[in-house]
């Protein structure tokens, strides 16, 4: 792994030193009130068993005897959590007499820290602007020096770091840093004031706290009370106490076991992350209590130990740890009982608190914070929305106090393009509504539907998409968030539905459930059979049905029927593109064991591939043939298709023409693909084989223009019309004429189009058709394959009327 050049490495090492003070600040009251031996041993790594113990202690605070010797002052009783203002100083003191570089922190606290930064930085900038001089080119995005240097310089200082990683690093944004300065002018009291003034969530359309509350009464109650009147502080305690309840003793034993062996600090850090993931996952899937933790394997430290060194952390390549739900956005606060989801949750902003703290070690703290974010994969991908909110709150609170600072902050920010792009600073606050909307619209245009919806969720009316996304987010199962996890169930009852390519998550109210699709299909098939539906109408309907099937993940017989009917209709019309789509779907459907007309479409595949065998389909044809002979009882269609393959391989044109005539069902439509070539090759063969002339009437028979007498009539063999088509057997474009005269005329026209030399024999006056003959010798080497006239709009079959009706 490569790391940035020298100067930035130097700064990185500086981070490690900066760690302890910063993280310690995130400790919750519950945490502090705990009494356990490991807490102050100062080996430099936060460990889970301690944390678990701490949580436990908070839970059973009434029974548990207070730790006599090492408990920090002012943190003896969890009851103090109820009195935020009085506890605040204790909380401030605690970090500085402990040496914890890695302390679990919740987003609530992160947001609190945003605010806190804002003050500290503001104060700092106010007091001595530019006092801290950082060497040029160091990794200093959050440093004051970065304000003066243009964005590209900051980006160039650490080119190795991909933007996604550097995002969190820049979260304590410059704008936030400058704006809230006035608050910090009076540093002691206003912290609690901020706690009460910032209520950004109140204004926004709210997430379904009630529904989540059903599952997590504790948190919901906390949230409710928090919104009502209680200080933010209380809720932090409540929220962080919630997970401890979910920790069964075996799990705690497991965590202890995990920490029992790991040796180096680096490994412990890694283990921390891994354990957090495992536990979160278990909590999300509800296996916390059911899993046999005694035998559950310990997390493997596959990640390189060197990740401790800051820089773009390397994720394990395989066995990727589950991404947090926050990938698509925040998890509703009430739903998250685990560390990770808390860390990802944006609801922390409701409980923002800014613990009062002396203003020193700010720069180090900010750096260490960004480091921790990049190290901890679970908290890393802060979503846009989340960051926006956090930044917006800070900015709003600042704006309340003094508006002109916002302007100043914005000005200072302006040249820093890179930072604006990555750090989600608080600019949005000064944007007017129109601009916001415009930006959102633009977002929606360029982002995927899901992300667009997430962005829209921030401000616009919660429409269906947003609700659905939230739903998706709230129950993010272990693995990477995928839409496949969620299968919708349609409620639409309409039989007809036009196809519209989805631009957003599907809406169940316009998706038809299976029974409705069934009747829609039979209706469409009936109208195709009696010819009342044009292909365009059918295409539109079929595509709508296919879409409904896809979004509902229906892979059963009905799906096969829809695809089969559509494939037949497409073949009848000559729409090969749609046919191929259907054929592909049918292949996978039939392979997975869905019953349908497997053999018919296997035959279609054979015919199609043998028609294209010269163009790279030879190996595919081989595979299909193998599948065909594997059939226990090959159907008529398959046998026919196999003999077509043979005839085409052996260049037995005559057999090909005969087989065309006897093709069952849609066979002719597929043979039509190869037919012009076959006929032209046959003509060349005749010209070389016959001398001196070949009468047109005979040629018409040899070239398949006139039906031979021995041709079996298939029409009577099966009268049943397959769904999707209008005839039992497709007539085909190149069907031989039963009438010899007509066949000869067609042959003559075709020969002329091939630029064949036709001579008229003088003797026969009475029989004009017999008199004409092909001059074989003259034709050799002069024949030209007749070109099909290209149509501008690409569809030869498209009649103007159809086009007009379709356009309407």
């Amino acid at each position: 792994m490569e790391y940035p050049a020298q100067p930035s490495t130097a700064t990185f090492t500086g981070w490690q030193g900066a760690q302890p003070g910063f993280y310690a600040g995130y400790s919750t009251p519950a945490y502090q009130s705990s009494a356990y031996p490991g807490y102050y041993h100062g080996h430099g790594v936060f460990d889970y068993q301690n944390y678990a113990n701490g949580q436990q202690a908070a839970q059973q605070a009434s029974e548990a005897p207070p730790a006599p010797e090492e408990a920090p002052p002012g943190a003896e009783e969890p009851a103090q959590a109820q009195q935020p203002i009085s506890t605040a100083p204790a909380e401030v003191q605690a970090p500085y007499n402990t040496q914890h570089p890695w302390v679990q922190h919740t987003p609530q606290q992160q947001h609190a820290w945003n605010a806190y930064y804002a003050q500290q930085w503001g104060q700092h900038v106010n007091a001595q602007p530019g006092a801290i001089a950082y060497p040029q080119g160091t990794y200093s995005t959050e440093q004051p020096s970065a304000y003066s240097s243009p964005a590209p310089a900051a980006a160039a200082a650490h080119p190795q770091i991909p933007p996604t990683w550097s995002k969190p690093a820049a979260t304590p944004s410059p704008a936030a840093a400058i704006r809230p300065a006035p608050i910090t002018a009076k540093p002691a009291a206003p912290q609690s004031a901020i706690n009460f003034t910032i209520k950004p969530q109140m204004a926004k359309p709210k997430k379904p706290a009630a529904t989540n509350g059903a599952h997590y009464p504790n948190a919901a109650a906390a949230a409710a009370s928090g919104v009502a009147s209680k200080p933010a502080y209380t809720q932090v305690a409540a929220a962080s106490a919630a997970p401890s309840k979910a920790w069964p003793p075996p799990l705690r034993a497991y965590v202890e076991r995990a920490f029992g062996v790991k040796t180096t600090d680096a490994e412990r850090l890694l283990l921390n992350v891994k354990l957090k993931e495992i536990i979160t996952k278990a909590e999300e899937t509800g296996e916390c209590w059911t899993r046999n933790w005694d035998v559950f394997p310990l997390p493997s430290l596959t990640e390189p130990v060197s990740t401790v060194i800051p820089g773009p952390p390397k994720l394990p390549e395989k066995a990727t740890p589950p991404r947090p739900a926050a990938r698509w956005g925040p998890v509703p606060a009430a739903a998250s009982t685990s560390f990770k989801s808390q860390a990802c949750s944006d609801s922390g902003s409701e409980y923002s608190q800014a613990p009062g703290r002396p203003g020193h070690r700010r720069s180090r703290r900010s750096r260490s914070r960004s480091r921790s974010l990049s190290l901890d994969p679970s908290s890393r991908p802060l979503t846009k929305k989340q960051k926006k909110r956090a930044a917006a709150e800070v900015a709003k609170s600042a704006a309340k106090v003094k508006a002109n600072f916002t302007i100043k902050g914005k000005k200072a920010n302006k040249p820093n393009v890179w930072k604006r792009a990555t750090s989600e600073d608080a600019d949005d606050v000064v944007l007017d509504e129109g601009e916001l909307r415009r930006r959102q619209q633009r977002d929606r245009r360029f982002q995927s539907s899901a992300r667009a919806a997430a962005a829209a969720a921030a401000a616009t009316i919660p429409n269906f998409d947003v609700m659905r996304l939230k739903e998706l987010k709230s129950d993010a199962g272990g693995a990477e968030q995928r839409f496949d996890d969620k299968v919708i169930k349609g409620t639409c009852q309409k039989l007809e539905k036009s196809y519209f390519r989805l631009t957003a998550a599907p809406d169940p109210s316009v998706v038809r459930p299976l029974p409705v699709l069934k009747s829609a299909l039979s209706k469409l098939v009936a109208s195709l059979r009696d010819g009342s539906a044009t292909y365009f109408y059918a295409l539109d309907q079929f595509k709508g049905m296919r879409q409904d099937l896809t979004v509902q993940h229906i892979h059963d017989e009905v799906a096969a029927q829809v695809y089969e009917a559509h494939a037949r209709a497409a073949l009848e019309y000559g729409d090969m593109a749609e046919y191929n789509q259907c054929q592909q779907q049918l292949e996978t459907l039939h392979k997975s064991g869905v019953k349908g007309c497997e053999q018919e479409f296997l035959a279609c595949r054979l015919l199609y591939q043998s028609a294209h065998s010269k163009h790279g389909e030879a190996t595919a044809l081989l595979a299909t043939l193998q599948a065909a002979v594997d059939q226990a009882q090959p159907s008529r269609e398959v046998l026919h298709a196999i003999s077509v393959c043979e005839a085409m391989q052996a260049h037995n044109y005559r057999a090909c023409f005969k087989l065309y005539a006897s093709a069952p069902r849609m066979g002719r439509a597929l043979m039509d693909i190869a037919y012009p070539n076959l006929r032209f090759d046959a003509l060349r063969m005749l010209c070389e084989g016959f001398r001196p002339t070949l009468s047109v009437s005979h040629a018409a028979r040899l070239l398949g223009f006139v039906a031979s007498t021995s041709q079996p009539d298939l029409q009577e063999q099966h009268q049943e019309i397959p769904p999707g088509s209008s005839q039992p057997q497709f007539s085909g474009k190149h069907a031989a004429a039963a009438d010899a005269q007509m066949g000869e005329a067609a042959c003559l026209a075709w020969l002329t189009s091939c630029q064949a030399v036709i001579t008229s024999s003088p003797g026969a006056i009475g029989a004009p058709s017999n008199s004409q003959a092909l001059d074989c010798k003259a034709c050799v080497g002069k024949l030209v394959m007749p070109q099909v006239e290209a149509v501008t709009h690409g569809d030869v079959n498209l009649a103007l009327d159809d086009f007009m009706t379709h356009a309407e």
């Binding site: 062996v261 130990v305 030879a618 081989l622 595979a623 391989q649 052996a650 037995n652 063969m685 001196p692």
Partner: protein, 466 residues
């Protein structure tokens, strides 16, 4: 016996020279249990921690493996990582639990020891070794699917090692792993099939092999990395032929047949394997000349005692040769147990379209499975030419117009063979022969006669381009 003794001695006394290994263990002992850590731990924890000693019985010659890795001894690493290594299997069988996992302590031990190596890719090695031992344990408990998954776990890490090492010493390890992955995928699929699951591990294996392939192709750091290319390509061929996804083979062929690729520097076994598959592929793509050359190469370079492999080469070579007009002797076919082709040869000799059709019908399924059916169908015109020639020879006897052959004669011959062909069919068949230049002459439709050229009316089939 003579060989084994010095090596054993070396192994025994070689340890003195392995200073780093010793210091590794020492490091492990001193650093891994910092004093503070004992606080808050139960006795049991400490006990289990102590179990992670420097020696772990269930891992076999783990130390040897580490030494080989450190000394870049690719052959030895490959030998010790081989799933067939009996000593390793025995050790893991004794150390693993019946459900096919290793004790946590062993895994921890692997990780710590490997990370203690002074090696650029030690983290990758840690993953590789850990997953390898898990794979072996799963394999020994007959859970092939799990074993495959464990192996797939470490392929990308092994590929990273292969890519980032400047030397080409990983070549034997990579080639062996590729082959093992394929075999394991086969077994895993069998197991899944028996459990009625529809996943296909072979497909996954194919995409993993692609990684090795692209690394071996880019030759980053060392030209000799290309020595892994042909073995990996061969493994991919085997996989794709089994999967019947032959279009994936095309880029491999292009890479190997690139003029800069030194094909001759590979061992004969790899060359023969490659040529065999390339020849088969050429048949499917109708490149019969290339197919003939490749299969001939494979057949000729196959060791004489590899009867089965020689037979496989012939299985595909015979149809190509038949199309080129050269007929093998029946004794030759029988010697390689290729009686399936005897009726085809007889039909070609006698011009019996009936026999050909019967043979095609009889062996249709097998020939289609092997992929030569469509080639054998192309024998029809050649058999027809033979029939035509025979009727011409008979008709020529005592006939002053020897160059003329009434089409009725031919049709009579065809009827004799109980083949259903009307006049038009016969005309077309003959015209086709003329078109393919198997016959020189023309048809006079008015007179229903085939007019043959006086000079060389039946050019040899081998003279024609297939």
């Amino acid at each position: 016996m003579k060989c084994s003794r010095p090596s054993r001695t070396k192994q025994r006394f070689g340890n003195f020279g392995h200073r780093p290994a010793y210091s590794c263990a020492k490091l492990f002992r001193t650093i891994s249990y910092p004093r503070f850590h004992i606080f808050g731990l139960t006795k049991l924890d400490i006990h289990s921690a102590k179990q992670v000693g420097p020696r772990h019985g269930s891992l076999g010659d783990f130390q040897g493996l580490l030494n080989a890795i450190r000394s870049f001894n690719g052959a030895k690493v490959a030998r010790l990582l081989s799933l067939d290594n009996e000593a390793q299997r025995l050790a893991v069988r004794q150390g693993s639990s019946p459900n096919g996992t290793l004790p946590e302590s062993a895994l921890r031990y692997i990780h710590t020891r490997t990370c203690g190596l002074v090696h650029d890719c030690k983290e990758h090695w840690a993953v590789v070794l850990r997953s390898h031992y898990l794979c072996l344990a799963a394999l020994l408990s007959n859970n092939h699917d799990q074993a495959f998954l464990h192996m797939a776990d470490y392929i990308s890490d092994m590929n990273s090692i292969f890519r980032e090492e400047n030397g080409a010493w990983m070549v034997p390890v990579v080639t062996q792993t590729a082959e093992a992955l394929r075999l394991l995928a086969n077994k895993a699929d069998e197991q899944l099939l028996s459990q009625r699951q529809h996943q296909c591990r072979k497909e996954a294996a194919g995409s993993w092999l692609q990684k090795f392939y692209s690394t071996a192709k880019t030759l980053k750091g060392n030209q000799n990395k290309s020595m892994a290319l042909l073995p990996v390509v061969n493994t991919m061929f085997k996989l794709y032929f089994k999967l019947n996804t032959l279009r994936n083979c095309k880029p491999c062929i292009q890479a190997v047949e690139h003029p800069n690729f030194s094909f001759t520097s590979f061992p004969q076994s790899e060359r023969v394997t490659y040529k065999y598959f390339a020849g088969r592929l050429a048949i499917f793509q109708d490149q019969l000349a290339k197919a003939e050359a490749d299969l001939e190469y494979a057949f000729n370079h196959c060791p004489a005692d590899a009867w089965h492999n020689k037979r496989l080469c012939l299985y595909f070579l015979v149809p190509v040769r038949l199309l080129a007009g050269s007929l093998p002797s029946e004794a030759h076919l029988a010697a390689f147990n290729l009686q399936i082709y005897i009726p085809f040869v007889q039909a070609m000799k006698s011009g019996s379209t009936q026999q050909l059709a019967a043979a095609l019908k009889q062996h249709q399924v097998e020939l289609i499975r092997k992929g030569v059916y469509l080639q054998l169908v192309k024998l029809q015109p050649i058999v027809m030419r033979r029939l035509l020639k025979r009727s011409w020879v008979i008709n020529r006897e005592g006939n002053e117009k020897g160059h003329l052959l009434p089409l009725g004669q031919l049709q009579k011959a065809i009827r004799w063979q109980q083949m259903d062909m009307d006049e038009d069919d016969v005309e077309c068949a003959v015209a086709n022969l003329i078109h393919k230049k198997y016959v020189k002459g023309y048809i006079s439709h008015k007179n229903q006669v085939l007019v043959l050229s006086k000079a060389d009316p039946f050019p040899a089939v081998s003279a024609q381009q297939i």
